[in-house]
């Protein structure tokens, strides 16, 4: 093994791990964003959901998810199949350690799962949600990941890569998938009490902490550099370093474009600047570029992000009209714009085709939505997925966790 290869291996592994750590930090982003957009009486529960799902996702992916997704037919429990060294003993020496591959992948699973948390907020039962998390992260997501990033045939019928499907960092595989699972849950849950009036009008339920929501968005923006940047899978060569730099630049450009357009569109639609739409717009820009951040020019990336920013505002308003109650706009940001992200790929990447993207999108959506719907339904029949009306009115924090996020007048037991 040459010294140069040793260095390349070390650098690529280091880079991969740091990017994974940045994606892990996105969990804090989701937690803060969601905590800021729900009411104070429901804040402790949503924070619990966010940290708990992260632990569950990492564990389930270790138990069986990674093997389902990347085992390629060789399934082994608890990661016993992965070797400690990627350079020796493998048919094609990799330039990074196998554990780094697991580490980078596992934080993506957690990202997909956390998308569901926001959409079902303020009425889902905590433990029902966590049980759903076990299935999404241990089985549902790994299955569609195996057909996409691991190139396995979809139930033996067709192979998405052969059809021209391409999703660089996961607009469809991660974001649209999470939104599909969320949509299944929201449909079975129903809207929050009092959200929609008898005449079909939608009542505003403002979030309790906009500073947290903003902080969460900035954290997600930063973490996304790891999300897209790490998906280059290497940095220790001129070619890959150039690619990494372009990916960072385009990711940032798309977020900026999305934010600007969403802010302007919201001002036109609602008359004033809407901070929550600006936040959703930045995230939408990020989701839109995630399927292909390496081939567009920076101007194209900005415009793609801007398209995402416009689409997300209209999607949020439209889903509300359809009485799909989504307290944080997750289904719009990750689902609607996730699909847009997939469809933008062929515009700058000749290796993908529109038909391939559509077939891939349909495959991901149908699989994740249908299997999630079944899991939610079984949980609903077994233990219910929605809290009682009294608990919903009083706030979920005391019934589910026994502690308030913003306590006042706490007395010790006398």
């Amino acid at each position: 093994m040459t010294d140069v290869f040793q260095l390349q291996y070390a650098l690529d592994t280091f880079y991969f791990l740091m990017c994974g750590a940045l994606v892990m930090w996105m969990a804090a982003g989701f937690a803060m964003l969601e905590a800021g957009l729900v009411r104070t009486k429901n804040t402790t529960v949503i924070l619990t959901k966010n940290i708990a799902l992260f632990g569950i996702a990492c564990t389930m992916y270790m138990v069986c998810g990674y093997a389902i997704m990347y085992g390629g037919g060789d399934f082994s429990w608890f990661l016993s199949g992965i070797t400690g060294d990627g350079a020796t003993g493998a048919e094609e020496p990799a330039t990074y350690a196998p554990a780094a591959d697991f580490y980078f992948q596992v934080v993506f699973v957690a990202t997909a799962m956390s998308i569901v948390s926001g959409a079902v907020a303020e009425r889902v039962k905590l433990w029902s949600f966590l049980i759903f998390a076990v299935f999404l992260t241990g089985f549902i997501y790994p299955m569609e990941g195996s057909w996409t990033w691991n190139g396995m045939p979809v139930f033996g019928m067709y192979t998405l890569g052969d059809l021209g499907f391409s999703d660089f960092a996961g607009s469809g595989i991660v974001h649209m998938a999470g939104a599909s699972a969320a949509l299944a849950g929201v449909i079975l849950l129903g809207a929050r009490k009092g959200k929609y009036g008898a005449d079909g009008s939608s009542k505003a339920i403002p979030g309790g902490n906009l500073p947290l929501a903003t902080l969460g968005t900035f954290i997600l923006w930063l973490g996304w550099f790891g999300f897209n940047g790490g998906s280059v899978l290497a940095t220790a060569s001129v070619e890959s370093a150039n690619a990494v730099a372009v990916v960072f630049m385009n990711t940032n450009a798309a977020a900026s474009g999305g934010m600007i357009v969403a802010l302007i569109v919201a001002k036109r639609l609602f008359g004033k600047a809407d901070l929550t739409m600006a936040l959703n717009g930045a995230l939408a820009g990020l989701v839109a570029i995630t399927a292909e951040p390496s081939t567009p020019t920076p101007l194209q990336a900005t415009l793609f992000g801007g398209l995402g920013g416009a689409l997300v505002v209209f999607s949020i308003v439209y889903l509300d009209k359809l009485k799909i109650d989504d307290p944080v706009g997750a289904i719009s940001v990750h689902g609607t714009v996730g699909l847009l992200g997939l469809l933008l790929v062929p515009l700058t990447n000749d290796a993908s085709t529109f038909s391939g993207q559509l077939i891939g999108a349909a495959t991901i959506f149908v699989w994740v939505f249908a299997s999630s719907y079944v899991v939610w339904l079984v949980i609903k029949m077994a233990m219910g997925i929605r809290v009682s009306e009294e608990e919903e009115m009083a706030g979920l924090d005391l019934p589910e966790t026994g502690m308030e996020a913003y306590p006042e007048f706490v007395s010790a037991k006398s």
């Binding site: 007048f409 706490v410 007395s411 037991k413």
Partner: protein, 138 residues
């Protein structure tokens, strides 16, 4: 100086006494403590009977509704004070009965913790912008 001081004091308390005897009390302050999610219903029913102004505060409290204990990191604590909303409405005497009825009907759930209504007399109301007083200021 001494005489002025005594006369001044006497004059003050004399006029005060007189104004209390002569004043016609014609306004009431209605204070209601209700469950927070009932606020919209109460506001609507007050608007229906013509009550225009309302002040709302978020409070915590309890009456006979008992609290319960919870655990925080293994330590017990008591959740006595439950979130409520306090509303204050200044109205003229002739509207007292209809206001009380409106609040009672719209704030009631039949379950413990529905709240209470307090009626107190109101000495004076002044509209800051115009200086109007009394019934004109409500």
């Amino acid at each position: 100086m001494f005489v002025d001081a005594i006369c001044g004091q006497n004059r003050y308390s004399l006029s005060n006494y007189l104004s209390l005897q002569l004043e016609i009390i014609d306004m009431k302050m209605i204070t209601a403590v209700i469950k927070p999610f009932k606020l919209d219903d109460v506001r609507e029913s007050l608007a229906d009977i013509g009550v225009q102004g309302i002040t709302v505060t978020e409070v915590k409290g309890f009456g006979r509704q008992k609290g319960h204990t919870e655990l925080y990191r293994g330590a017990e604590y008591v959740v006595d004070f439950l979130p409520k909303v306090k509303l204050e409405v200044a109205i003229s005497d002739d509207l007292v009965d209809s206001t009380v009825e409106a609040i009672t009907k719209s704030a009631a759930t039949g379950k413990i913790g529905d709240g209470k209504i307090f009626i107190s007399s109101l000495d004076e109301v002044i509209r800051i912008r115009t200086g109007e007083t009394g019934a004109d200021a409500i």
